[in-house]
Amino acid sequence: MSDPVERIAVSTDQDVVRVRQLVRTIAVSAKLSLVDQTKLVTAASELARNTLVYGGGGTVEVTRVDNGRRQGIRIVFADQGPGIADLDLALTDGYTTGGGLGLGLSGARRLVDEFDIETAVGQGTSITVTKWCR
């Protein structure tokens, strides 16, 4: 049995709010603790905003996952934007090209249990994050 994938196209500010609400709903149903719900929704908000602002829009997919021992939530943020040229730099606290605080990517990574990023200049960026129930 595979869990359904909830998918949201992100092209406006309003879509970022919808991503937050969807992740919140699924985090509650997966019985994440309140602090973990808050961390996951916050990370999703940062990454969905990046998809919109830096990626020029894209998609967010949310799935319930089960590794046999624990349940969790996996979220994939994908865009076909310019990609990230220097990933190490982009993951450094305080580095920004967009006039923000430079905490979105680095901060979001701290808020989740697993964080994978695939990016290629000119081809886009795909970020997968997972949060497990404790």
Binding site: D13, Q14, V16, V17, R20, Q21, R24, L34, V35, Q37, T38, K39, V41, T42, S45, E46, R49, D93, G100, L101, L103, G104, S106, G107, A108, R110, L111
Partner: protein, 143 residues
């Protein structure tokens, strides 16, 4: 677009954020508050975020900017009602909201503003702080 209402109570502007704000709504609040501080001449701003279940870096930065703008316009800002899970997440995110005064609830926020105002009348605190900073800078400059 939704708009966050701003209430005037005596010398204080009170904002209670009860919706999940789009980024544009947060920026609109920043502008609206600056306008209201000037038109009302209020010296205190209280922002109640007890209705927010997350504060991400955008909202955090907006709160810090509101505090800075208000200060330039001669008003102090206090952010009140932050949920514990939000505080934990903010710190882990790397956002410690420097320069923002906080209180646990609206009542304590009002007390904090009243105290700040009384201190200002007494003519101490703020000027003392500036003097101290100057003295430290001078001391650092010594070889």
């Amino acid at each position: 677009m939704d708009r966050v209402p701003i209430l005037k109570i005596g010398d204080i502007l009170l904002v209670s954020i009860q919706i999940d704000m789009e980024d544009q709504v947060a920026l609109q609040l920043q502008e609206d508050l600056a306008d209201r501080v000037v038109t009302t001449g209020c010296h205190g701003v209280i922002i109640d975020i007890s209705g927010l279940d997350i504060v991400d870096s955008f909202v955090g930065r907006t709160l810090a900017t509101i505090a800075s703008i208000s200060r330039v316009l001669d008003a102090e800002t206090v952010v009140v009602g932050m949920r514990p899970a939000v505080a934990i997440t903010l710190v882990e995110l790397g956002l410690s909201l420097p320069g923002i005064r906080t209180a646990l609830n609206v009542e304590l926020g009002m007390a904090l503003l009243a105290r700040a105002k009384a201190d200002e009348r007494a003519g101490d605190s703020e000027w003392d702080e500036i003097d101290d900073e100057d003295a430290e800078t001078a001391a650092d400059a010594q070889p």
